[in-house]
């Protein structure tokens, strides 16, 4: 390990596009570490060993990556070794290294973080993943084909992970994707400036190289049903995500200029409306754009609006910044870019012009009272605090619910109160042979949580199919 050095108190800074420049383009904001930066950051790691009654980084990782070990390899300049260790557990590291909420997972348990800034685990993961992508991805050893077939429905993070793990175990896996491009929310939802599509494409390519077949343009529940698939496959994994936009349910929500976050982001990300008219799909952006909501999706929309040319982009949220579900890093970047936060504000009505376009939003001021069932303090309206806000585009980003298409078309598939498919700890549904995981079982959560569920499901499918034969 060489002679003892004084530990850096802060993470090696991440090179970034400056805010004034980046709001004029859709290129990635965080540019990634160089090899030197990565080695220097890796040196901050204390190489903690697991200890009874004490959590370390690994305990915070939903897929259980051996974090101290891969960081050790980076420190030694062995990037190849580092990526091998990550990929034992994580099939999509270039994605996780960009969008994981590390501060609430691995980095939250970092011992160094108790005194200084935690080790930049996410940044290091991203570095080695990108390093490998640039050199050409190696395909790991696979179990020999076992003659069993598994269908995976949906090619988002849950589906890709389940498919990759099952392929490694020797299964013949086919993914069915409803849209024309695989990746699910990674493609239609998360913007280019946060997760470049070439990265998603490269990770999807890796899954294909493992032998997974991906069939696009297949809407399961319409083009084929789960019952059809059961005739052909030994098991099915459903990872169709939370594709159903939630609405405020207030007057004027169907006015022109009011988008769901899904529509706004799908037009821009999947359909590349920011390149209209080179690409055929248009998007309309006004001068004053209000995004309703306080999650990562809301931040993505508000920042996308700036890049599309909005003069003022607002986040309108009914609680305070402290209760926002968005990652601190995303809130910070939105602020740097000039997004204006209107907190403790709740829209109650949209007002349109004579042609049916939204022109104003009536809001009430809120205050926080006692905590609700989620532990966050409940916002209540302040009587007589109503005011009007001029807006010409509104994006409703208050969450998504599980996609109802498969539950609706699959008899006996049990669902919960919000339409989520009910599963046990092994991701098993109420129907034999059918497993589910990701946002379809939880409502909208994180990419890494979906991947964790995909992993558990792959393991459970393997147990089920190998035990049965």
């Amino acid at each position: 390990m060489g002679k003892p050095q004084k530990i850096r108190e802060k993470k090696v800074p991440m090179p970034e596009q400056p805010p004034k420049e980046r709001i004029k383009n859709f290129n990635e904001v965080a540019l990634g570490y160089t090899a030197e930066m990565a080695v220097e950051e890796a040196k901050r790691c204390l190489q903690c060993k697991p200890k009874e009654g004490q959590k370390i980084c690994v305990d915070g990782c939903p897929v259980g990556v051996n974090i101290p070990e891969f960081i050790k390899h980076i420190r030694e300049g062995d990037f190849e070794g580092a990526i091998r260790i990550i990929k034992e557990k994580n099939n999509l590291p270039a994605i996780c290294g960009r969008v994981c909420p590390y501060e609430r997972q691995c980095e939250m348990y970092c011992t160094l973080g108790k005194r200084f800034e935690p080790v930049g685990i996410g940044r290091l993961e991203r570095f080695v993943a990108d390093w490998e992508l640039a050199r050409g991805v190696k395909i790991p050893e696979k179990a020999p084909p076992n003659g069993k077939k598994v269908a995976v429905v949906g090619s988002g993070p849950a589906g890709l992970t389940a498919a990759a793990d099952l392929a490694k175990l020797g299964y013949e896996v086919t993914i069915f994707e409803a849209l024309h491009k695989p990746g699910g929310v990674l493609i239609y939802g998360i913007p280019e400036f946060r997760l470049p599509k070439r990265i998603v494409e490269a990770e999807v390519e890796y899954v294909k190289k493992l032998g997974v077949k991906i069939e696009c343009d297949v809407v399961v529940g319409k083009t084929v049903t789960i019952e059809d698939l059961l005739k052909e496959y030994d098991a099915i994994f459903i990872g169709t995500g939370a594709g159903l936009p939630n609405w405020l349910g207030i007057p004027g929500e169907n006015l022109n200029g009011v988008y769901s976050a899904n529509e706004f982001l799908t037009r821009v990300n999947l359909m590349k409306a920011y390149l209209f008219p080179e690409y055929d799909t248009p998007i309309r952006i006004g001068e004053r754009v209000a995004t309703i909501g306080g999650g990562n999706v809301a931040m993505d929309c508000a920042r996308t609006a700036l890049r599309l040319g909005a003069k003022e982009s607002y986040i309108v949220y009914r609680r305070t910044e402290k209760e926002m579900p968005a990652r601190a890093e995303e809130i910070e970047r939105a602020k740097e870019e000039g997004v204006i936060f209107k907190l403790l504000t709740q829209p109650i009505r949209f007002i349109g012009d004579e042609k049916g376009w939204v022109k104003q939003m009536e809001c009430v001021q809120m205050k926080l009272s006692e905590p609700d069932e989620t532990g966050r303090r409940r916002p209540v309206p302040i009587p007589g605090s109503g005011f009007l806000m001029d807006v010409d585009t509104v994006v409703v980003a208050i969450g998504q619910s599980p996609n109802p298409l498969i539950p609706k078309t699959t008899p006996n598939l049990k669902t919960g109160r919000k339409g989520e498919i009910l599963v046990d700890e092994k991701q098993r549904t109420s129907i034999e042979k059918i497993f589910a995981g990701g946002d379809i079982t939880t409502g909208n959560a994180t990419v890494i949580a979906a991947m964790g569920a995909g992993k558990r499901a792959a393991q459970a499918i393997h147990e089920y199919l190998s035990g049965k034969s």
Partner: protein, 275 residues
């Protein structure tokens, strides 16, 4: 990739394509639609399924040249490939015996009522069909519909065939004469469907319309196609495309269909000048 198996000119600006899409053909039912994307830079547009053959694995669509994408599609030839073709989407029509069913088809909507007329006929209904277009050349599927219908009425805007005027005039006359009708199914321009729904309301005749809003994914994900029906927000792609015409807020739909008029013009002009 989905191969265009055959192409037929139905009128100067209306083309019919048979596309090889066996999975869609295997599941298609009257009233459903597909979404296609022509190429890597293309938009996703919905088109109603006109016909299908499980045996051939083909799906037939009829396209009226209007904007950039429909003009581009119309320029494609037999043997060409459409990049994406997904479906069948939406809920199928509720085909059953009602008694006498009056179908009203306007413009390219005529092609869309064809599979429903066939299915409702097979279900034992008496069929009255009223079709209309700007001029007689645009009266597509007239022969096919004539064979399936117990009564067929024709209207043209320019008096080149049949009644000089609108399809709604014909339905109005039939209703005023006391013709017994149990169900009306109207497919065509939004304004036509609105007029027909207003016409049947005082008679209390159930009226089904097939809506054609702007869609993106077509699977219930984005809400671009949302309309107000009976005071509730519905997604046409998954809750429709057919709704009770007496409950649809047509003015909201008309306004929503005009969202991208300017962009549609830009795209079309660019296509016509660049090809």
């Amino acid at each position: 990739m989905y191969k265009i198996v055959s192409k037929k000119d139905l009128a100067s600006n209306v083309k019919m394509f048979k596309v090889y899409a066996p999975r869609v053909a295997a599941k298609a039912k009257p009233g459903q639609f597909i979404i296609l994307r022509l190429h890597e830079k293309g938009e996703r547009i919905p088109l109603t399924i006109t016909d299908w053959s499980k045996e051939e694995g083909t799906v037939t669509i009829v396209v009226l040249e209007a904007g950039k994408t429909t003009k581009e599609l119309a320029s494609m030839k037999e043997g060409d490939y459409i990049l994406n073709f997904v479906g069948p989407l939406g809920k199928p029509a509720e085909v059953k015996y009602y008694g006498t069913v009056a179908f009203v088809g306007g413009g390219v909507g005529i092609a869309l009522i064809y599979p429903e007329v066939r299915a409702f006929k097979e279900a034992g209904n008496k069929i009255i069909t009223i079709i209309g277009a700007r001029t007689k050349d645009l009266l597509i599927f007239e022969d096919e519909l004539s064979k399936l219908s117990d009564e067929l009425y024709v209207a043209t805007d320019d008096d080149s065939k049949g009644h000089h005027g609108f399809v709604s005039d014909i339905l109005k006359k039939l209703l005023e004469e006391g013709k017994h009708i149990d169900l009306v199914i109207a497919v065509g321009p939004v304004i036509m469907m609105k007029v027909i729904s207003d016409l049947t309301r005082p008679y209390g005749i159930k009226t089904i319309v097939s809506l054609n809003p702007i869609m993106v994914d077509g699977t219930g994900m984005c809400g671009s196609c949302r309309v107000t029906v009976g005071g509730e927000t519905k997604f046409v792609c998954v809750d429709g495309p057919e709704f009770d015409g007496h409950l649809v807020d047509f003015d909201n739909l008309i306004a929503r269909n005009r969202r991208y008029l300017e962009e549609e013009k830009i795209a079309l002009e660019r296509f016509l000048s660049h090809g």
